[in-house]
């Protein structure tokens, strides 16, 4: 019987870190992926009709910089909230396959941190994106190891 029967600190040890066969994702340089350009997006927000292309540019997928990812996410949610409900379908229709997948990734990221009315807006976008991308686009959100 070991001496130390009180401490349960051992339960917090991450044994996977000590596994020599641990699977590591390949590192791919993401240093120059800063996310969409804030200034550009802000100026486009004042224009009409609103477009998604600017805010979906340069997604911070490969970078590990959490700040960049959060900034990008907030920007995207801001843009998505500025759209009128009736324009959502057309905006989604203007995206290509990769764009729809990226939009889905941002939508689910947005669901993770709800604020004010964001979830309701995101749900509307989700419905329209699902109609175009199908469940396949959601599967790709789940399987992507490097995401926004």
């Amino acid at each position: 019987m070991s001496k130390n029967t009180v401490s349960d600190r051992f339960r917090k040890v991450d044994v996977d870190e000590y596994d020599e066969n641990k699977f590591v994702d390949e590192e791919e340089g993401g240093e120059n992926q800063g996310g969409p350009d804030e200034a550009e997006v802000d100026s486009l927000l004042r224009q009409y009709p609103l477009t998604l292309s600017a805010v979906l540019k340069n997604p911070p997928i490969n970078t590990k910089n959490q700040n960049a990812k959060e900034r990008a996410e907030q920007l995207v949610v801001k843009v998505l909230s500025s759209f009128k409900s009736s324009d959502i379908e057309k905006a989604v229709g203007s995206l290509d396959k990769a764009g729809v997948d990226l939009l889905m990734k941002y939508i689910y990221r947005g669901f993770e941190k709800p604020s004010d009315n964001s979830s309701a807006v995101l749900l509307q976008w989700h419905e329209k994106a699902l109609a175009v991308g199908g469940v396949g686009s959601i599967v790709r959100v789940l399987t992507a190891r490097k995401t926004v």
Partner: protein
Amino acid sequence: TLFYYLTTQTQAAHLYNNCDSSSIPAVCLASVQTCRCTVLDWSRCPAIPGTKIGPVEIAVSPNNNAVNIYEKNGKDWVKIHELTEHSGRITGIDWAPQSNRIVTCASDRNAYVWTLKDGVWKPTLVLVRINRAATCVKWSPLENKFALGSGARLISICYFEQENDWWLSKHIKKSICSTVLSLDWHPNNILLAAGSADLHCRIFSTYIKDIEEKPGPTAWGAKMPFGEMMLEHKDCGGWVHSVSFSPSGDQLAWVAHNSSISVADATQGKEVIQLTSDSLPLLSVLYISPTEIVAAGHDCCPYQYTYKGPRSLEFVKKLDIPKQTSKGNMSAMQHFRNLDKKATDEEIGDLDALHQNSITQLRIVSLDKAKVVQYSSVGLDGAMVIWDFKP
């Protein structure tokens, strides 16, 4: 299409729809790769001299540690053999048509080669030397060796050593970081494609100089020492569930868990084109003709794709078009019954497809002069469907 339902209780496969027995081919090919629920294999029995039609047999494992061999007798399937040697769940069966040998692998880290002697299937243990479960097994085209994928993050290439009368294995470990999920052989009997859970798809050379001639150059490369990696496609987007070479061997198709199908073309500098789909992930892929590919998975329906040249991988059509059944009017009794059972009074029918659950494996059933005529699908619903391929 012919539809069979495999039941474990009665140990026989029953025919659901009427099948046209004249469509049974003279030579039945087929071997079924691993299936999560049922592992299925077709035999290619040599035809009885003097007749055109040979007996149709399948080797099935209903998610346990035994393999049952059924023979088609008129409209019924009759169980004629039971192969019990494994102590773990069978994960792969492959039936070699020319030499009439069956190789089985299981989660008990073993593989056996079965040969028919005096009407009884006798097992021979294979020294695979793995410390994790085997996941998939495939005979090479010339049947002088077979490849075994496993959770030990390596592939065992096994060949028969005449001197000591046993099966030996050589391991391919290079750069494989996780479980090998699927294997397929190139027609040249040397190159082997492997899909893995480390999200990569690779082609290795399995040239064993003791048992075969040095291979000539192919579109994938000229130098092929054992274990050489001729192709490594990184980050296929998800687990690579299934791989399939084209009949010529110049293209390799695979399906990954991110709901995509990809083709690597050796004639185009090994360029890879990926087509994402809007449906659930595909689990099995089969190259049916030089240009047509059939894939099926969690959508319970086989899809046809075509790859005709660089950058042209396209979806063709859904291959399961169920007959329209008249729903009819629901009685009041039915309404209340539905409300009680399913909390809704809508008519919730079965899935609008032959399979009622994910299709886990596609296999070629018969060929007519190297052209695939029929292929089979098995699924988690325990059903097996034989499809006719009409190009």
